[in-house]
Amino acid sequence: MHGVLRGLVVMGALLLMAAFAQNKVIMGVSIPAADHGWTAGIVYWANQTKGELEKKYPGIQVIVKTAKDASEQANQIQDLVTVNKINTLVILPYESAPLTKPVAAAKAKGVFVTVVDRGLTDPNAQDAYVAGDNPGLGRVSAEYMAKQLGGKGNIVILRGIPTVIDNQRYDAFMEVMKKYPGIKVLDQKYANWNRDDGFKVMQDFLTRFKQIDAVWAQDDDIAVGVLKAIDEAKRTDIKFVLGGAGMKEMIKKVMDGDKLITADVTYPPRMIQDAMMLTAEARVTGKPMKTPTIIPSVLVTKENAKEYYFPDSPF
Amino acid sequence: MLSVRFEGICKDFGTVRVLYDVGFSIQKGEVHALIGENGAGKSTLMKILGGYHAPSAGQIFVNGEAVQFHDSKAAEELGIVLIHQEFNLAEDLSIAQNVFLGRELHRGFLLDEATMNKKTVAALEQVGLQLDPRRKLRSLIVAEKQLVEIAKALSRNAKLLIMDEPTATLTPDETQTLFKLIAQLKAEGVTILYISHKLEEVKALSDTVTVLRDGRHIQTAPTQDLSQQEMANLMVGRELSDMFPPKTAPEQPKTVFQAERVSVPGWAREVSFELRRGEILGFAGLVGAGRTELFEGILGLRPRTSGRFALEGRPIDLKSPSQALEQGIVYLSEDRKGKGLHINMALRPNLTLMALERYAHPLLDTSAEARAFAENANRFNIRGGSAEAKASALSGGNQQKLALAKILHPDPKVVILDEPTRGVDIGAKREIYFLIQGLAQRGKSVIVISSELIELIGLCHRLVVMRGGRITGLLDQQEMSEPEIIAYATGLKGSHATA
């Protein structure tokens, strides 16, 4: 008799716990592994935010997973749903197309999905979208450069890797430049968002063009290589180099009033924090989340650099 | 019916000329034997006729008309088919697929397997084979493969068959079957060009004989006009009375090398023998008796479970060929192309490979190497290539002499030769016998492993016979005879012995 009663009690408790678990927010965060500076920043901010969220909302559980390619990320999403029983997913997809289906499958199981930075091919697979502003980065950069050059001069452009992101930035940049016929784009080449290629491409630009007034490196890693190349060639015609993203070393240079790095344009890896925060708030309070949320690209100059300097972040 | 005439055929491979102005005729419907030592140019000439090589100069006439073959297909269209020494068959395809390879029958888009199988059965019957045409080539024995190759040629309407040493891998029974087939084909009007080393076959089978030597045409004559001895003399270009050098007894019967209770798992059990100064010690036995494996075990080329060794009375350790070389023991493998020589390397580095420290000061003195090569080419009579020519350009006999020169270059005390005359023509054989004898006379100790009993009897001072991984007999000079060796090798005589 006693045994049966005890069994019933235990069962009841289990059911209750299960019901409670239903209400509890379990958030899976799926992001690319740190394989370059920007993703390293993403990993840093994701882990940082996990701590803040768990402090702020005691009931919440946050699981951060990094993947080294799209297929590993797809498997992780499955595991998060079936093993960790998440009901909320914040994902920065490695690639859009191959991850659309796995994310849609998670959503079909009732998981609330927030997609960050790279949109899925099927927008129905997501509940919310938080992204950086790629055209904005191009636009802000172009406007700054045009202003600094007084609407006149020769510039060269170092691009990233042939992708949609790169095209959006480049197209928006060129769109603005149409308004400044006095600025001549000498040439544009891919530097693959890395330092070594930035160095090489810039070296060849310097060989080829005797008068360059400014360089749009588009990315802070490329800018590191560009600076070295200019330094080695001892060229003084270049007035400034504009990178992008908001790497701490570059922000520091801006803050310190560097001669060539006079400004930077943000495309902050910190957007993962915004995404996680907004999603958690929406889930806990039950209020709808604003979508899409665009994190604007901001011009960083000596005046406001302090706000964008995070010495503890790897990026 | 098809006749062929060669006129002024020359062939150069790079800088090496292998055929000089060869001209002779093959009559319609005859069996024409082509003989010559290795490197005489037989195979090259046949490949030219088969369309595999183009002549550097000269002209081939088929049925009186000048022809030029761009490839073997062009030759095949005229009915000339070369049956390769290493068969040209795909092991993983069926017999029928091989027979119809490259000209498969179709029904619409699909292969017509049924008809091809049926036609293959008919083709196989022509050569006296009754096999399921769907069987994989891999499952056939060598003789069957050869007959399939012939059936394939016949099914392609061959009017002239070129057979390159067809009996080299056949048993006597299988050889007889092949001869019957050749006679039958001849009766059907097929012309046959037959290349062989075996003069008794040539004598028995052919109507006409052509002799090549050193790339030159020596003679074409009716077979009945030549004796085997005359053929051999024409091939070598001199009298061949003395194949073996006279034996001289080792002066001091001092033991140089001792092996005790050597066991190589699966191959040799508790084998012990000793080798004396200036001695040629033979190792006889059937295939699989474990002779090669025993010595590979001794050299450390195979794992060994037991065995102790002594050189000149002092115990030595043998774990690797390099350790053996340090002790002055060298081994020449029976597998010349796979283990003996770097076929793709030049002659000079091949020769000096085992004694390079002699030329390193510390940079290699290549001109000293070249001088050494010239010297050795002379001493070992290595012909057919300059020091910088690739070893693959040499004929089998010259390759073997180079391989010998190579292992002797470090000036070893103990020389182990595994099948030193395999695939070598008569002239080179004789040279190698004299060379081995010369080594013994200069005080080296030589071990010869061979499957040719005549060679062992003619050469060795003492003879070890092995069977199933054990020594079954030790024969001295008086006891050596073919029946006696066979008796020990097959188990009719002898239990276990120690040499």
Binding site: H36 | T15, L356
Partner: protein, 330 residues
Amino acid sequence: MLQPEKPATKSSKIRFNLSGWGPLLGLILLCILATLLNPAFISLDNVFNVLTRTAFTGIIAVGMTFVIISGGIDLSVGSMAALIAGVMILVMNALEPRLGGGTFTVLVGMLLAVGLGAIFGVLHGLIITKGQIEPFIVTLGTLGIFRSFLTYLSQGGAITLQQDLSDRYSPVYYGAFLGVPIPIWVFLAVALIGGLVLNRTRFGRYVQAIGSNEQVARYAAIRVDRIKILTYVILGICVALATILYVPRLGSATPSTGLLWELETIAAVIIGGTSLRGGSGRITGTVVGAILLSTIGNVLNLTSIISVYLNAAVQGIVIIIVAFLQRGRR
């Protein structure tokens, strides 16, 4: 038994072997074309730029030539360079407070790099020979291992050399001797020594013998395992030398350091006429191959007649054309 040797055919010594000159011919043609497109190409500065850039992959390619001739391969060189660079910078930064930001610290860093390269080489060699695992698989494994360790050490970002050390170290890349940049001198020296070792030493001969036919080499009493391990050690040291030149260029190591160097070096070796199956090859060919590859990139940057999207296609076409020019060597 003594018969006169067949006279060696005269033409063998006189005949000009065009096929061996394929890569050089290709390079010269490319240079002429580039000069026509943009005369700045032939300027001394640009030539030095290209050669200095080539130094990294060129030095590694010299080491790779040994490995490939012996019948091996090493896919890990790019990752190995990245890891060596990262460790080197971290150690130099850590030593700076105690040893100061001077030449001594830099020298310690260089020595460490060479040591690491040699150790990685020994490791590869041992796993390949004693462990009897295909070199392709072993080095594919270490390719991942080395790079993830670097990524771990850098937390995905950059490992940056401290400013004082960077200033002291930078002449190794940016400095010049007799007007020629240091990396070019090092490249030249490595190539010369490599050529000498390959063609004029016992070791070089053994490497070729093993690659040509390992069995034959084993039967000819060559210590095959030892020689093979040594080829990987040589390659490891070459990677270390390249890294020593690389670090002062940007003063940092990132997860993109040395990316795809393995393909570039292997391509340089093969374009230079070394057979991927091993056995034979030439250091001069490798050097020309390496220069050719970086020249293609340089020419594309100096001109804009071809859409940037087609860069890889141009590289592919040039490589295939050069392969055509040296066809028939085998």
